[in-house]
């Protein structure tokens, strides 16, 4: 199976939106938006499916990272440099694992994008999109920024979108537990303790 065969398969699903209306510019804008929305929705659904397939794994690596980080913050608060370095280095290892797992997870929302760009080249590769100062650009010059904007707007709208708001809540529930401490939390903890057990004036 070659890329060309995939683009031929995608063609009827993609091209109809570009033929909307008589004005080619309007048609291109509608088509581009259609592709961006489809790639975003498919990507987000795939990411959710991958996450829930391995939800225990994601929760556990996240837990390990947060726990050791919080311990390192407490070690710093206790001015214990050895414990700080130890906890920080373990948290760093856990972060590495978490980071690369999340990269792979993120890839599940992105795999649609190269196919979309590839199809745009298959269809519009011969068209020169002229941009002042830069000159002729390829279709990805217009696709990538519109995709990022669509993805951003989608993430803002997520809490109100049916299905996606549920997915978001379930991810939050899966990773519920101690929050990652900031250094300001140390001060807050101290203040709370002082409020709970006030020091007697005569002590």
């Amino acid at each position: 199976m070659t890329g060309h065969m995939i683009y031929e398969f995608l063609d009827p699903w993609m091209i109809w939106a570009f033929r909307f209306g008589d004005n080619p510019y309007v048609g291109f804008a509608i088509g581009l938006l259609w592709i961006c929305v489809v790639t975003t929705v498919i990507g987000e659904l795939c990411m959710a499916a991958v996450y829930f397939t391995n939800k225990k794994h994601f929760a556990s690596i996240n837990r390990e990272m947060v726990d050791h980080h919080n311990l390192s913050v407490r070690a710093l608060g206790a001015k214990n440099k050895i414990a700080w370095k130890a906890c920080n280095s373990i948290a760093n290892d856990a972060f590495g694992k978490n980071f690369f797992s999340r990269i792979a997870l993120f890839a599940s929302s992105l795999w649609v994008v190269p196919f979309a760009i590839g199809w745009l080249y298959y269809r519009f590769g011969e068209v020169d999109f002229m941009v002042p100062l830069i000159g002729a650009v390829g279709p990805s010059f217009v696709f990538i920024p519109v995709y990022i904007l669509t993805r951003y707007l989608f993430s803002v709208a997520k809490p109100w979108l049916p299905l996606f708001s549920t997915i978001r809540q379930r991810v939050l529930d899966n990773e519920a537990g101690d929050e990652m401490m900031t250094y300001m939390d140390l001060a807050k903890e101290k203040e709370e303790r002082q409020t709970e057990t006030p020091i007697p004036e005569n002590s």
């Binding site: 214990n80 414990a83 130890a86 972060f95 890839a107 904007l149």
Partner: protein, 375 residues
């Protein structure tokens, strides 16, 4: 109108991508085709007679790459590179045009950028998330970014269109060998001792926290970072009353070297940056993680932009898409299977792999033949 920093960041990102997204890139490839005059059915990048890349093979190889991502962490970018060079036969195809030909160099650059697209695009999301969480240390990020931008711009500028496949293979192999040596060191008693000591110290502190609720005696006057001394070569500061010091030139130089290396080899570089910042500058993971993700993102944008915009390097999008699907499948399988393989065994597998790939590519690149089979 611009009410939040998030919106500003978003606009900056879109602007950066507008500059990054490649222009019509036919010129360089067309020139190379005109010079080499290949014949046959259009194949890779539409080159007449180019390899007909089977996307299913790309998918299967990428499953392996994804498995590595989710079990080992680093090494994914390296394996993606091995896939492009060896599994799809792009290495042999580039070599077939001879050392000095344009086609050899175009395909070599295409391999480098394809690797970077695979590994690098995720740094964008990480940076965005860390920025939202307030976990970016801007001065450090800027120091790193200066180094990263310089490194990831200079390398494509100096080497794009100049590096033939054999030279690239040689350096790629050397880097993998170095990684193999580092992994081997980590399994030695000396390498293990450091980790064991860290685990013991962490466990001891954890139990003392449980007993005494340690960690709450914070002197509010000493909160945060307080710089004691700052010269071009020395920065001494206290962080919550604990003394730290590092050389400010180190993030700049380190950022430069790591970005240049990542750009040259076509890998991400994040796996080098985080340990570099925590061990050299002694900074907390909480802050280093986001800052290094930003540096990787800036370096990556810059490197991809330089290869594609300035040097008109083409990539095969369908192949990258198939590889991303494979990475996803591999990363789903990874956590489910890795629990049956002890960490130590996993490490030995990767040492063997790194040594094999390293020796093969180094010898092929610098000697012209492979010291290990297939010769």
């Amino acid at each position: 109108m611009l009410r939040s920093k998030k919106t500003l960041l978003m606009l900056a990102l879109v602007a950066a991508v507008c500059v990054m997204a490649e222009p019509a890139m036919a010129d360089r490839l067309a020139d190379a085709i005109a010079e080499a005059k290949p014949t046959g059915e259009p194949g890779y990048l539409g080159i007449p007679g180019g390899p007909q890349l089977n996307i299913l093979i790309g998918l299967v190889w990428a499953i392996w790459v994804g498995w590595i991502f989710s079990t080992v962490g680093a090494f994914g970018g390296i394996m993606a590179g091995v896939g492009h060079i060896t599994i799809y036969g792009l290495g042999d195809y580039a070599s077939s045009f001879g050392k000095g030909s344009q086609m050899n160099k175009v395909v070599t650059d295409s391999i480098r950028v394809s690797n970077q697209w695979l590994v690098g695009c995720s740094a964008a999301l990480s940076s965005f998330n860390y920025y939202k969480a307030g976990r970016l240390v801007l001065p450090l990020g800027i120091a790193l970014a200066i180094g990263s931008v310089a490194g990831s711009w200079l390398v494509p500028w100096l080497t794009a269109g100049k590096i033939n496949l054999k030279a690239y293979l040689g350096y790629f192999g050397l880097f993998v060998l170095f990684l193999g040596c580092y992994l081997t060191y980590e399994t030695t008693p000396k390498g293990q001792a450091g980790k064991k000591a860290a685990k013991e110290a962490a466990a001891a502190f954890q139990s003392s926290v449980k007993k005494q609720q340690e960690g709450g005696d914070v002197d509010l006057a000493e909160m945060g970072v307080k710089v004691q001394k700052f010269t071009p070569t020395s920065c001494e500061f206290t962080f919550f009353g604990v003394e730290f010091n590092f050389n400010p030139l180190i993030p700049v130089v380190g950022g430069f070297i790591i970005a240049a290396l990542a750009s040259f080899l076509g890998v991400g570089g994040g796996f080098l940056l985080v340990p570099f910042l925590t061990s050299v500058a002694g900074l907390p993971m909480y802050l280093v993680a986001g800052t290094s993700a930003m540096a990787v993102f800036i370096g990556m944008c810059n490197s991809i932009m330089s290869y594609m915009l300035l040097k008109q390097t083409p990539v095969a999008w369908g192949l990258i898409g198939a590889e991303l699907i494979g990475i996803v499948i591999g990363s789903v399988i990874g956590p489910k299977t890795s629990k049956f393989i002890p960490d130590k065994v996993l490490k030995y597998i990767f040492i063997a792999l790194a040594v094999y790939v390293g020796v093969r590519y180094t010898s092929k690149g610098f000697l012209g033949y492979s010291l290990v089979p297939p010769f």
